[in-house]
């Protein structure tokens, strides 16, 4: 049984079909990359899964529950974690408070008015920070962090609700190549330990081909390929989409992904 | 360097001396606390302040009252009843004034009246016109100088009845003063002329009249006559729009306060000729007491008096007379002294009635005319306040029992 199954997902903006009848599934513990040239519909697809956009048609099954059209916070409560393309934190809080915030939400403590929040779930938050290597920065204001560190904190936040599924929108965007590999290695290690499934989009083909268990390719809103690294590399349609538009599988940063 | 230090220490020393010595000197004076909406209603209150200053100067030049000089402590009340109460408390508690006077807008006068009753402070309401200050909401501690809306409306009533018009339109600013004037007018006219019909009532917000639309709406109601209570900038707008649109043509217009220079002069050559108004034709009143006042005023300020000047002047004169009669500023003695107190004013002698604490200072009723490109009043006469006030028995029913 798959963790997430997408069936016939479609979304149009005005006359443009951004996502057109896309179907795929993610198995337990699977590390699935979604790639495609700019404008292929990756972001739209992603935003429908995380609840920011409502699809025009199609189903998004989390387990056996259709989450299409649900609010982001409701989807999160069902065990879907998420990181953003441009990482950021709650700027007025310390690093550990950022993680505590997610833990407070997960524990249903948000409407408590009396107990000071500082002590609540602090241990667990520090634990999560330790796992992403950020425990030393716990009490620093989060706005002072370097970008790479913000990405790590965001990962800790995303793990706070013990998700079954993690959605990562360009997790390595805006990072130097060394940092990229370190971060993805960290992600892979953490999700393996917990048996979390991951769906991520990525521009860096290095990252994709070295780490993804499986790859799906979108082009002009349609799913054109689905398979392991070798199969995708050899797929003529994929080659055409990429090489035909002058793109290569080498490292290239997306123009819009700079912080 | 040393010189500068010397200068500094000298300045410091003299400041300290001044601070220490001045209050000692000040104890030789009788303090009067005065609060008013100086910033919000400057057109009336700037001359008012000058009137007070003139009276103060005259009294103190003659040695003051009971051998002490009068000292005026003036505050702005922010045109806000809550603020006015704070200022009144400040005057009483920090400045230690034994009595307070002032206020302009009716609702602020009412709030301070209530304060005076609660805190047992003598209060002379100078200008606010609402009847409630001396009647429904009256109290032992509050007296009022200016002729009330009831009185001013009553002064216009003979002209209203004589006009024999059936269809009347009313226009008034939508707050206490305007509402009570309109109410008074309707009641009095209905009593005198039962078949009267009030064809429209326009009640724009104070200071925000949409003059074109209001004038037009009145015209569309096809009245035979109009009763106006607008004043200040509202009046100016209304007159200009109404004149251009021919709203006042062939119609009798009665108007409260419009003959006061404060409101008439800004209109210049557009003063609405033929309106029957209450007001103050300052350049035409030739009684000796008024001539003396005008001369002194013009000499001191190089400006002509407005009605506010008379009110300010008479306020201080009233207080001086009251303190003189009470032989001090003790509140109970002041109340006793003010009941039936006779005061000389530029308008002639008047009296604070013992029955309702209302002064009988009257007003001038006449017609607006143009002279030398300026509005003025003609065919005017002075209506004494006592002739338009109800008798003591009738008033007693209007006042709370505790007020007597």
């Amino acid at each position: 049984m798959s963790v997430l199954a997408i069936r016939g997902l479609s979304k149009a903006f005005g006359g443009v079909r951004a996502v057109n009848d896309v179907s795929f599934a993610i198995g337990p513990g699977e590390f699935l990359a979604m790639i495609g040239p700019n404008g292929a519909g990756k972001s739209t697809c992603f935003n429908m899964i995380n609840g920011q956009l409502a699809p025009d048609s199609g189903e998004i099954l989390l387990g056996d529950r259709n989450i299409a059209g649900m609010a982001p916070r409701a989807i999160w409560r069902l065990g879907v974690g998420r990181t953003f393309q441009v990482a950021a934190t709650f700027a007025s809080m310390t690093v550990v408070e950022n993680v505590q915030m997610a833990l407070l939400s997960y524990a249903g403590d948000l409407y408590r008015l009396w107990r000071p929040a500082a002590a609540l779930h602090r241990e667990r938050a520090l634990e999560l920070l330790a796992q992403v290597g950020m425990q030393d920065a716990a009490d620093r204001p989060s706005r002072e962090l370097a970008y790479g560190d913000v990405k790590r904190v965001e990962l800790a936040i995303a793990l706070a609700n013990e998700p079954r599924l993690l959605l990562m929108d360009e997790p390595t965007a805006g990072m130097a190549p060394r940092e990229r590999n370190d971060l993805i290695k960290l992600v892979k290690q953490l999700v393996l330990e917990r048996g979390i499934s991951v769906l991520f989009t990525e521009h860096s083909m290095d990252v994709v081909f070295s780490f993804a268990d499986r790859i799906i390719v979108l082009a002009r809103g349609r799913l054109i390929a689905d398979g392991n690294a070798a199969a995708i590399r050899d797929n003529p349609q994929v080659q055409e989409v990429y090489f035909g538009t002058g793109k290569t599988f080498s490292n290239e940063a997306s123009p819009g992904a700079a912080p | 360097m040393t010189t500068r230090r010397h200068v500094l220490s000298f300045a410091l020393a003299s400041t300290i001396t001044a601070v220490l010595v001045l209050p000692a000197l000040a104890q030789e004076t009788i303090k009067i606390g005065e609060l008013n909406s100086y910033k919000a209603q400057p057109a009336f209150l700037d001359p008012y302040k000058k009137g007070m200053d003139l009276a103060l100067e005259e009294i103190n030049a003659k040695g003051g009252v009971l051998g002490k000089k009068l000292e005026l402590i003036v505050r702005d009340d922010g045109a806000n009843p809550g603020e006015a109460v704070r200022v009144a408390e400040e005057l009483v508690t920090r400045e230690g004034v034994p009595l307070i006077a002032g206020t302009f807008l009716s609702h602020i006068g009412l709030a301070v009246t209530n304060f005076a009753g609660q805190k047992k402070v003598f209060f002379l309401a100078a200008e606010p016109l609402t009847d409630k200050i001396t009647w429904q909401n009256g109290n032992r501690y509050t007296f009022r100088l200016r002729a009330t809306t009831y009185m001013q409306t009553a002064m216009l009533m003979p002209a209203a009845i004589a006009a024999k018009k059936k269809r009347w339109a009313l226009v008034y600013p939508n707050f206490e003063y305007g509402q009570s004037a309109a109410e008074n007018f309707k009641t009095m006219l209905k009593a005198a002329q039962p078949d009267v019909e009030f064809v429209t009532e326009q009640a724009p917000p104070l200071g925000k009249v949409d003059a074109g639309a209001v004038a037009q709406a009145i015209d569309d109601a096809k009245p035979d006559a109009i009763f106006n209570v607008l004043f200040g900038a509202d009046l100016t707008r209304f007159v200009r729009e109404g004149t251009t649109r021919g709203v006042f043509k062939n119609r009798t217009v009665l108007s409260l306060l419009s003959g006061e220079p404060e409101y008439l002069d800004p209109l210049k050559e557009e003063a609405p000729v033929g309106w029957i108004v209450t007001g103050y034709p300052w350049d035409k009143i030739k009684t000796p007491e008024h001539m003396a006042f005008v001369n002194a005023y013009q000499k001191k300020f190089n400006d002509y008096p407005r009605l506010g000047s008379v009110v300010g002047y008479a306020t201080i004169k009233s207080l001086a007379a009251g303190i003189e009669k009470a032989k001090g500023t003790d509140t109970e003695k002041m109340i006793a002294a003010f009941r039936g107190l006779k005061v000389d004013s530029p308008f002639g002698p008047f009296e604070y009635r013992a029955s309702d604490h209302q002064a009988t200072m009257g007003a001038y009723v006449g017609k607006i005319a143009l002279e030398n490109g300026k509005g003025t009043m003609v065919d005017f006469k002075y209506v004494d306040g006592k002739d338009v006030l109800p008798g003591a028995d009738e008033v007693k029913k209007l006042r709370p029992a505790s007020a007597n």
Partner: protein, 628 residues
């Protein structure tokens, strides 16, 4: 009324609409580009009328009048440019909204300056040469100048529209309205752009004021009236949209003209005077538009403006130092009644300061940590005050019950209004809260039978022992302390964190399961509820409550207090409220030109402490201790 009459009133409405359009369009442009809410806009308009009056009377004739109007627009435009260069440019890096404080100070200064130059009497200008008479229409006489004005609005609209469409300057304005950062990135000199937009906006205000010289007297009350009108029009039309401004001006002017035209109507024996409803109607239109079309009729959602100011420090539990300081202050306050035996005014001043503290702290709760800039906090003050006062008036309720009811009435209002308000953000939320506050004010003002109308409710005095200054002071002190500590406690609790998370990044907050609207709604309700306590205390402290005390001025005072103290600090509102209340008390007492002096003092504070008083001190403190 006849159809003719209705049609004629509609034409009247068009000339009023042009007037409104001139007031509003400059404000809209300035806001669109600079994101500054220019409270001094009404003052510029007022000065326009005065300057044009001087031209028309001193020079006179056709040149003095018509030439004077153009000259006025240029002069006021220059004043606008000077304001931007000399004042606002220095504080662009301050926390959001801080510029509002500076423009508030200018309102005070300009009003007294105008009083000083032109005197106190209303000044009615001459009729317009060439347009003094009237034209016959539908059997009625329409002043030619009104007809001219009715046409002048659309003409200026077309000129502006054309300028914005085809010129480079116009394109920059439009680009900046949509995305301010982008214009900077394009290499445009932002300083020059801001100065010229400010000058243009000011010139339009000056032109508008000058054009009224033939219709309205120049008076000192015009500044705030014009500002209020401008707000409504800009918000209804959509911030930054000039066509929207005209459309909104027409709608509002027509609704008012209709109210006036209808006059008194009998509904089954009950006479209703519609002419009294012009004010309510205006704000009802505004509230409805904001609820149905949150960004105004022709407005677009504003691109998020990344604040140029430093984000705030994480909140920390009170240091021993701060606790000690708080204890000392509280101790001194408890000791105050002893001092007050020789100067009883201390108690009255103390009560006023403490009420201001509750008011400002509750406003800060949603403004600072909540990021909801309420411009209508006076509504909850008013609901509390009237709730208490009316219980005393109608049910002769004892003080305890009335005081307990005050926060509940305010809570009910805040729950209702907040539900709509939290659906918006930024300046639209600010304006919707303002509209609700004005509706409360107008309702209180109009509902004479129940609320006492313009007189308000009088005779709400505390019963013994609280009729003694010291006793009421201690009661106020106790309630203020509880209120401040309670709000502080909430901020440090998970709820307060969730509120800040929702402010820092609504998207991320939603992504970790926080229902941001709901949290903010409850925060709004809590702030309103606490504010109601201040209102209840106020009614008993003054023995009365009246519409003035809950008017927009009080909301603005609250903003000033919060910004003065420092919006990014938790003690800021306490210090800001105290400083402002004391300043007002001292300055109003000392001088005839107290407004100008108060304005000048605020300007000095603004320039000296661009992050508020407490903000400045805590920055200094951090710098002294060095990075830790």
């Amino acid at each position: 009324m006849t159809l003719d009459a209705l049609l004629f009133q509609a034409i009247n409405g068009l000339s009023s609409a042009s007037g409104l359009f001139f007031i509003a369009v400059g404000l809209s442009l300035i806001f669109g580009v600079t994101r500054i809410i220019n409270l001094a806009h009404g003052s510029l308009y007022m000065m326009g009328t005065y300057i044009a009056y001087s031209f028309a009377t001193k020079i006179g004739g056709v040149i003095g009048f018509w030439g004077g109007i153009l000259a006025t627009a240029i002069i006021v435009g220059c004043i606008g440019a000077l304001i931007e260069i000399l004042l606002l440019r220095r504080i662009y890096r301050a926390p959001e909204l801080f510029q509002l404080l500076a423009t508030f100070a200018l309102v005070l200064v300009f009003n007294d300056m105008t009083h000083w130059i032109w005197g106190s009497e209303d000044l009615l200008g001459p009729r317009a040469p060439g347009l003094a008479g009237s034209v016959e229409l539908l059997g009625r006489r329409l002043p030619s100048y009104d007809l001219f004005l009715a046409l002048a609005g659309p003409v200026v609209l077309l000129i502006l529209h054309f300028t914005l469409k085809v010129t480079r300057f116009g394109r920059l304005i439009r680009a900046a309205t949509q995305d301010r950062e982008m214009v900077g990135a394009l290499g445009v000199n932002q300083a020059v752009l801001f100065t010229s937009v400010f000058a243009l906006g000011a010139a339009l205000a000056g032109l508008g004021g000058a054009l009224q010289v033939a219709r309205e007297p120049a008076t000192l009350a015009t500044d705030l009236i014009a500002l209020g009108d401008a707000f409504v029009v800009v918000v209804v039309g959509g911030m930054g949209s000039i066509t929207g401004a005209y459309l909104a001006a027409v709608i509002i002017a027509e609704v008012k003209a209709l109210c006036i035209g209808i006059g008194v109507v009998n509904f089954g024996g009950i006479a209703v005077n519609f002419s009294k409803f012009t004010l309510v109607a205006e704000f009802l239109v505004m509230a409805i538009v904001l609820i149905v079309r949150p960004y105004g009729l022709l407005g677009k959602p504003q691109g998020a403006v990344r604040s140029v100011a430093e984000p705030e420090e994480p909140i920390r539990a009170a240091t021993p130092m701060l606790k000690l300081l708080a204890a000392v202050v509280l101790g001194l306050l408890l000791f105050l009644p002893v001092l007050a035996q020789s100067s009883p005014y201390l108690m009255i001043l103390g009560i006023d300061v403490l009420i201001a503290v509750i008011f400002a702290t509750s406003l800060h709760f949603i403004m600072g940590p909540g990021g909801m800039h309420s411009f209508g906090h006076a509504a909850y003050f008013g609901l509390g005050a009237y709730g208490a006062a009316l219980l005393v008036k109608w049910l002769a309720a004892p003080m305890g019950i009335a005081l307990a009811a005050a926060p509940l009435v305010a809570l009910a209002g805040a729950l209702l209004f907040g539900w709509f308000a939290v659906r918006l953000s930024g300046v639209y939320l600010a304006m919707l809260t303002l509209a609700f506050a004005q509706i409360v004010w107008a309702a209180v003002f109009q509902w004479e039978g129940f609320t006492g109308g313009s007189n308000g409710v009088i005779g709400v005095w505390p019963k013994p022992p609280f009729d003694q200054g010291w006793a009421f002071f201690l009661l106020t002190l106790a309630l203020a302390t509880i209120a401040v500590l309670l709000l502080r406690r909430f901020l440090f609790a998970p709820f307060g964190y969730a509120m800040r998370a929702g402010r820092d990044s609504p998207l991320r907050a939603e992504a970790i399961g926080i229902d941001v609207k709901r949290i903010h709604w409850l925060a709004f309700a809590i702030a309103g509820c606490i504010c109601g306590v201040a209102g209840g205390l106020f009614a008993f402290a003054k023995g009365s409550i009246s519409p003035e005390s809950i008017h927009v001025g009080r909301s603005i005072d609250g903003l000033v207090m919060v910004l003065l103290g420092g919006i990014q600090t938790l003690t800021g509102p306490i210090v800001g409220a105290s400083v402002f209340a004391l300043l007002q008390d001292t300055i109003m007492r000392q001088t005839e030109y107290w407004r100008a002096l108060l304005g000048a003092v605020i300007l000095v504070l603004v320039l000296a402490f661009p992050s508020g008083i407490v903000g400045a001190f805590s920055n200094l403190w951090r710098r002294l201790r060095g990075p830790s």
